[in-house]
Symmetry: C2
Subunit: 562 residues, 2 copies
Amino acid sequence: MPGKYTIGLDYGTNSVRALIVNTANGREVGTAVWNYEHGTAGVILSRDPNLARQHPADYIKGAEVTIQKALADAGKHVRGFQPAQVVGLGVDTTGSTPLPVDSAGQPLAFNKKFAKNPAAMAWLWKDHTGVAEAAEITGLAGKIRPQYLAKCGGVYSSEWFWSKILHCLRTAPEVFAAANSWLELADYVPAALTGTEAPRKLSAGICAAGHKAMFNKSWGGYPDAEFLLQLDPQLGALRKRLCPRVRAVDSAVGGLTAAWAKKTGLSAGLPVAVGAFDAHLGAIGAGVAPGALVKIIGTSTCDIAVWPDTEKLADIPGLCGIVNGSVLPGFYGLEAGQSAVGDIFNWWVHYIQPGGKKPLSHADLDRAAARVQPGESGLLALDWNNGNRTILVDQRLTGLLIGQTLYTTPAEIYRALIEATAFGALTIINRFEEYGVKVEQIVNCGGIAEKNPLVMQIYADVTGRPIKISRSAQTCALGSAIAGAVVAGKAAGGHDNYADAQQAMTGLKSRVFQPNPKAHEVYKELYVLYRKLHDAFGTQQGDGNLYGVMKELLEIRNRTRK
Amino acid sequence: MPGKYTIGLDYGTNSVRALIVNTANGREVGTAVWNYEHGTAGVILSRDPNLARQHPADYIKGAEVTIQKALADAGKHVRGFQPAQVVGLGVDTTGSTPLPVDSAGQPLAFNKKFAKNPAAMAWLWKDHTGVAEAAEITGLAGKIRPQYLAKCGGVYSSEWFWSKILHCLRTAPEVFAAANSWLELADYVPAALTGTEAPRKLSAGICAAGHKAMFNKSWGGYPDAEFLLQLDPQLGALRKRLCPRVRAVDSAVGGLTAAWAKKTGLSAGLPVAVGAFDAHLGAIGAGVAPGALVKIIGTSTCDIAVWPDTEKLADIPGLCGIVNGSVLPGFYGLEAGQSAVGDIFNWWVHYIQPGGKKPLSHADLDRAAARVQPGESGLLALDWNNGNRTILVDQRLTGLLIGQTLYTTPAEIYRALIEATAFGALTIINRFEEYGVKVEQIVNCGGIAEKNPLVMQIYADVTGRPIKISRSAQTCALGSAIAGAVVAGKAAGGHDNYADAQQAMTGLKSRVFQPNPKAHEVYKELYVLYRKLHDAFGTQQGDGNLYGVMKELLEIRNRTRK
């Protein structure tokens, strides 16, 4: 019997990837990447450093090009491969990346009138133009709807859905007025592929709605009209025009249109899954399950856990979000993250450039840092050079290094920075466990997990848990392909549920980093000290004397910078 | 009338300098330096990293060679110069640098039996072999003689007189038994030049006795016999054999012997002043006076102030010592210091070596750091990479840097380290003023003061006080020459007192660093934050939660290092 395949589309910040995967064994048989054409590396910028937009035309062309090329690539690797063997399709994207659409669900940016208006494009996840509006939303929710904040870590972010839309309403009212509704990119792509863009036809994903748009069944879906009206009457009116159906990734949005079938070579009617964010489907591709935390480690991290929704789960303070079904159906999806990991190591290597005439590379520092025993540098650092996402939800924090002598070396500092990110990871794990979400093993994926055994060993030694590495280097696209397999169903050559699909299609590398008990003992002691610093500078516990120090330094900095 | 001159001998760690100075105007007309012959750069080392000794033969030969050469040098610069125009001699040395002597005051190291025994040599200031004995002395004094500790900042150091002698008694009893007495180097050299080495003939200096040997008139001189007996009966017995007369630097020890006159060319009977430590006579050479703090800034600093002994002065916690007459007769001499200044800058440049393929030199970093405005880096550091001498008297402290982002540059950190040392300097000044010792101006000397205008401007901006620089680059030797002028007296061509001698012989460079009011305002805010960190990590004030962090890191380090 010929193999069955599904295809995953993974929309990143600069490019889109298509990946074709065998549903029986997870073998990745064809892939293609296409870089967005608009803007700078796919991102439309302006003089305002907070602005980051994308042109939706890139999303459409990207799907066409990468699907075609991935199918061709699979043809090279699998004898007799036919596009008709592809039985399902899934989509993951960045987010929150909302875009305004007309009543037919077409992006306003496709209308000539708005073709060059950045407000009519997709508001990329890292667009921070809505800082003031985020503060306004947080403030109002704090006063009248504290439950809204409890599900998103206590602070509503400028990166999220409502902040961006409210900012559009305030600064580009003609765009807001022309928009019938707003879709998340994760919803727009499946809708476009299946011709269900019109909000009344669309099934939106619970992942984006729950994590970024304050959607929760316990209060009847989106934030209530009264709340939105208090922010702005027009925002209140928008509520009725949002997509009414919100589903998890085991639902299909619809079937591939004939037009898309024609231009890609896939079969018309191919089931397309509800979309979700890259990290969430990435966690599925890495094998997330109760007790197994997935960390996607790059410049920063996204940490994803799941917990059965049949068990009680309290709000967990400091998490980016807890949303039922946002990762796996039937499970709470829990999202946490570290604001900087690889970025901190890059700072040391590329900004400070230690080491003299032969500057030390990452590899040089890895080698030298590996010879430093836990504890023997006398150093300790906080991993806050880019703020702290979880568990403090505070961007106005900065780095700290303590313990320097006159003989401290660059490699000792490098290792202290690695250890700091591991202590940050442990702090997230502890927070999960304090609220009953067990973390027995850790599955890492992403560039650092693939390439840096020193970092992985330190993570094992600090957390006292085995560290496993995802087999796939493309866990996000793999997760999307798994979603495609589940909406295809077993009868069509896919799987009937995520447990079966993950069992068949995901895997781990054979090398597992086991914690060294001696090192773990030392790190337990160091972690007590890390937490003292963490709590003194990051919380108002204790006498609160140092809580303001980093913030005041930032205020003085902002005031004195020209 | 031909000019009159005096000669200053300055015994450093690696070499001795002689300087010939015109008593009327401070003009330095002849100088010579001689490097000690024994050991490594003049220091005898062993496998024990705490051991640092010197051979007293170097002191004798050094005086002979440098006096001869300095006289010859003066002959080249002053037409018709005659050695007979030299009317007095002063001596400054490192300390506490005690050496065991026989009943004639001859160093035991001159005795063949002990010629190669390090315990019989001079125990150089930075010898730390007496750590355990220092703790024992501090412990006993804390219990039964708290007043002894109150005068030396609360802790008796391993670098000081009694720690070293007690360690000799414990570890080299044959040397201790053979010693009739122990002399400080600052007392031994004047004694040798005047043939008054025998303790019963010698006038010892109050500077060394008061700052390092717990000598204080208020309790009858040296520590009482009961106290010393409790440490060791033999130490109690030694007390009676210590030099009974202790004087300030306006007293002469005696006149130059005929033998020394013959071998140097100086006049027999030339008055030789009581010796003192380099920093104390250096402060005189820099123009120390009530209200004017002298900072000798090198790898570390020594800070010297004086205050009229006619006014009441409380014990000032954290100072290295307060000794009546240790600097200027008639004034309390107050000694403070920073454990590392230039050493911290050197750490950043030479250990971390930032900047990539073209590593940044001190000069590069100075230029780049000068462009950073106060406050705009968002950084703050503690200057404790080598512990904190004043006001915390705690070697078990380490560095701290706070405020790093992903874009922090090497020059910003360099500037933050400079600012940290300036905040450390201000903390010492504030401590003086809290106890009534006014600091209206600051006179800096030493290499960094001479060469680094950026550091000096930051010191002015941080302290809010004008920073002046000593005219002489050899303030220690100049201070010794001033001592020589005072013991010579006005009638002989010297001066009758220190006020007149300083007025005539010292001066300042014309460039004064005035505080920039705008910068000072920013630094006032930053200093509030510096003190928060200082008090949180360095004291048990507040909730004491962070007080142990640096110490525990050091304990873990010591335990985990191989």
